[in-house]
Amino acid sequence: MAVNSAKLIEILNLIANDIHANKDFLTELDSAIGDADHGINMSKGFKAVTEKIAAMGDKDCGSILKTVGMTLVSTVGGASGPLYGTAFMRAGQAIGSKTELGFEDLLVTLEAALEGIKMRGKAVKGEKTIVDALEPAVEALKSSPTIDINLMEEAVKAAEAGVEYTKGIIAKKGRASYLGERSIGHQDPGATSCHIMLTAILKGIKDS
């Protein structure tokens, strides 16, 4: 895997496309246990991201990811804006001024993103949040000394299992937490959007 700045922008656009394609699905999931705006807000945010990064092909990867984070923070709103915004900003900080990323950097960015989300949301695994999809993915990437495309496939599968897992647990964060046991049976919209992003990243890496 060799992802330069232009390729990174391509991958981010893949994420944007998949978020747009799942806009109604994410909003529908959110209407069951939240305030019915996750797909709408994420789609709005990634539309702004695509515009912002279009001309950043000559910038380093860290700057691009930080720009994504800042853009999400200022356009998504709600809780998802600060959470995903922090994730991308931390990922950008973690890789700094690199202009080409390898598989090890993939782990570095996702781990930084996970730490950022846990810090911002004061969340741990098992609370029906983004963490339930992202943490298993990061753990999968850490499970072998060498990271390759197969391990990334495993990581995405782990995230998918994490989304499934959120169906059976009670929400302990955000608006869904007010529902208590009534939140059981619904998959978490945040974990779902996280899985969608990881899937898009895998797709982008495979093409490179």
Partner: protein, 332 residues
């Protein structure tokens, strides 16, 4: 949807422009941002108070910007937290060198967005502290939820912390008195009709012609129970039982009372509610120091109201009595 608007996308922006045009002696709008600041901001040497949240709760929060209360009110989209960049601009515009207190209502999005703004401000060398208001007793407070919501009691925090800041209190002192207010404030509301978020165009929930919801949140979040419509006294009894027993407020206490209309409930009904509130407090030997009746934190055009009690001591009484001069709260 029948509303006096031009377009759902522009409601917040246009509301703030109208407000700035109405009250230039009190507030001005920050160009390019959904932020209202005191006309004379920044006030040099004074701790600045910044609050805000989703729009739709007018006059909260921009209506309380002015002498003796807030320095800035940040207005997010309807029922959506403002983003950190907006809050950050507010902080920068009102910082007078003595630090800034953020008054946040307890909603996950609000807390994260205000916290990020606070971190951005601290990175620029501005001293920032924050308090989180969680006065709604309708929501059970437990380790397993996000905790109680912040509702109308927030306005008491604006008033008293604002008075402390105006009197020259340090950031630590202003924060301490804000926390004292939060610790002694309890509220609960109810709704008769839903409200319509302009961008959604339809009611956020439905209530039958003969139904009401006790404990309804200010964004239409579910309450504790849906019942047949009750008479005013019976309804107030329900709300007061939860509120009074929660702190609890006891015989010999002195309290401030706030009856808050949610947008479509006339003052006539609010006074009928207050009649029963004062009877109950009298029976319990709780002395009413001051009462505020009107619209302080609404939920667009929802019909309904909330009751708030604040237990007072000498310090809080003095600060509650202090001068305030803002578009929506004048006490001279």
């Amino acid at each position: 949807m029948k509303k006096i608007i031009n377009s759902p996308e522009e409601v917040v922006q246009e509301m703030l422009e109208g407000m700035a045009a109405a009250y230039p002696q009190y507030v001005r709008k920050l160009e390019g941002f959904e932020v209202m600041v005191r006309a004379d901001a920044p006030v040099k040497g004074k701790v600045a108070l910044v609050s805000g949240g989703g729009s739709g709760h007018e006059p909260s929060h921009a209506g309380f910007v002015g002498k003796g209360m807030l320095d800035a009110g940040v207005a997010g989209a309807v029922f959506t937290s403002p983003t950190p960049d907006q809050v950050f601009e507010a902080i920068k515009a009102v910082d007078g060198g003595a630090g800034v207190l953020l008054i946040i209502k307890n909603y996950t999005g609000d807390i994260m967005n205000f916290e990020m703004a606070g971190e951005m401000a601290e990175a620029e060398g501005i001293k920032v502290a924050s308090v989180v208001v969680n006065d709604d007793v309708a929501v059970e407070d437990s380790l397993y939820t996000t905790g109680r919501r912040g509702i109308a009691g927030t306005v008491f925090v604006h008033k008293i912390a604002g008075a402390k800041a105006e009197a020259g209190g340090t950031l630590e002192e202003v924060k301490a008195v804000a926390e004292k207010v939060i610790a002694n404030t309890r509220s609960m509301g109810m709704a008769l009709t839903p409200c319509i978020v302009p961008a959604a165009g339809k009611p956020t929930f439905t209530l039958g012609e003969d139904e009401m919801e006790i404990g309804m949140g200010i964004h239409g979040e579910p309450g504790t129970k849906r019942t047949h419509i009750m008479k005013a006294d019976e309804l107030v009894d329900h709300l007061m039982e939860k509120i009074v027993n929660d702190l609890p407020y006891e015989s010999g206490d002195e309290v401030a009372v706030m009856i808050n209309g949610l947008g479509a409930t006339p003052l006539m009904e609010q006074f009928i509610m207050n009649r029963r509130v004062s009877q109950i407090l009298n029976e319990k030997g709780i002395k009413v120091y001051r009462t505020f009746v009107g619209e302080f934190m609404t939920s667009i055009e929802m019909a309904g109201a909330s009751i708030t009690l604040l237990k007072l001591d000498d310090e809080l009484k003095e600060l509650l009595d202090a001068q305030a001069d803002t578009p929506a709260f004048r006490q001279l």
